[in-house]
Symmetry: C2
Subunit: 265 residues, 2 copies
DNA sequence: CCTTGTGAAAGGGTTCACAGCA
DNA sequence: TGCTGTGAACCCTTTCACAAGG
């Protein structure tokens, strides 16, 4: 679910499957909570529940890191916290820049989860000269002109793009040229990057559309019915024909005997 | 990469694989852009490039929807836009509520991508009485007390949670009890929901941690080196031993002959 | 000739179930 | 006894390569 290009196709980084890497932060969060409550050990079952996965998956995930548990007992919380942090590279500190200080950029700058886990906001950058110097989350906004020098001065290798879609590729190119090799993209665009640069994207609108798909399936015909019962077998009524459709089109066949499709004018 | 519980295990909704559903919004966006430029048809190769996937995958994805292309020619842009929209349930309008109008909630409320694709912000809800009535993105913020009535009055079935982590589960419970069956969660917590409710989560801090993992692999020993070359075979130097580590621990073995591990005090 | 649509193969990821060990 | 660690089976996803068809 990431990377514009260069998904590190078969080159699984150091033997740990990508799916496992994506879950390590989840385990880490659950473990941190346990640690704060001074819980000394935890079983795979308990930890799995706290992280929202099943225990077999968790044990298999941990097996890629090494044999860090004790049979009959469970896992040492502090020890695991450290091992996972190290594996994720969170024992070092990562300076990041956020480009595009609109509503979203400001929200990100204020987000506490940043600093708590090894990430440090090195600078906030915006193209609007009127923003320059204004403090957001305790940091003065810098102008885009300074982007390159900020990155090299701070040794930034991770950049966050929170600009409008139209500016994203251009910002991305400048970040990459200045030495950034990991990008978190909030702009609703596909970014093209050279090999060796990782891109992950977060797209609100896509997430909502996926939810809408499932929501549509749940409600066979009657949407907006506040009943919370699970309808596992969604009613197969096929197309919920919309109002504004016209201009019949022939020769099209749906996957399982759908009625001839229709398209809007 | 979603759903706290109830991942719709084998019950793939109406024959379309989950991985395909997750890409449909991507295709839709690329197609919409083509449509705005009045491009009449597009080949799988062109569209795949625009969407950031490969063409074989795209064709396979479309094959689950039906035979919507023309051999030797490609796909009719307008027609595909409509088909995908319908498949995703975007031909109807989905009222959503956003709960938690802090920095992030406000950013979401202002996010244009919402309205553009069938989603309508029915209400902004916050627990802070001081926020009540204040306009955000043109809508007055409503108090949490009104949550249930807002949901039932507007037939809301999709809720967005942008509260602090501590409040998320409680908000979630109330949303579900009031009839919401799809939740987009921005709070860094695992939400427990009953069967039949879908949860998708967006977690900034997790995305950054995944990037950090790959970034750490790229830089074998020397981080912050602004060279942008791709090092496909990450150097296998094993553990980048951090400074603050102490308290040696025996009997632990890493996955591939790591040195005996160490944990922090 | 060009591009779609799709069986078949290959590759990952998840789950099962139990051997192994404290 | 109880829980971890893991081969093996299963399932989902991606990729390949080519037949089908405008």
């Amino acid at each position: 679910m990431a990377t514009g290009r260069t998904h590190r196709p078969a080159t699984r980084s150091r033997g740990i499957p990508e799916a496992t890497v994506a879950r390590l932060p989840l385990y880490l969060r659950a473990l941190t909570a346990l640690s704060e409550r001074s819980v000394p050990t935890v079983s795979s079952e308990e930890l799995a529940t706290a992280a929202g996965v099943n225990s077999a998956k968790l044990r298999k995930d941990f097996s890629y890191l090494g044999s860090y548990g004790t049979r009959g007992v469970g896992y040492d919380v502090e020890y695991l916290v450290y091992q996972i942090s190290r594996e994720l590279g969170l024992t070092q500190d990562w300076p990041v820049v956020i480009v595009g200080i609109g509503n979203l950029g400001a929200a990100l700058a204020n987000y506490g989860g940043f600093a708590s886990r090894g990430f440090r906001v090195a600078a906030l950058i915006d193209a609007d000269p009127a923003m320059a110097g204004k403090p957001v989350a305790g940091l003065p906004v810098r102008h885009t002109d300074e982007l390159e020098s900020i990155i090299s001065d701070n040794g930034v290798s991770i950049g966050v793009i929170a600009t409008p879609a139209g500016a994203a590729q251009q910002v991305c190119d400048r970040l990459v040229a200045a030495g950034v090799t990991s990008i978190l993209n909030f702009a609703p665009t596909v970014l093209a990057v050279p090999d060796g640069v990782d891109v992950r994207k977060v797209d609100l609108s896509i997430e909502l559309q996926i939810l809408a798909f499932h929501e549509q399936r749940k409600a066979g015909e009657d949407v907006n019915q506040p009943g919370q019962g699970a309808r596992t077998t969604a009613s197969r009524t096929g197309s919920t024909r919309p109002a504004g459709a016209a201009a019949a089109r022939d020769g099209r066949k749906g996957p399982d005997g759908d009625v001839p499709a229709v398209m809007p004018a």
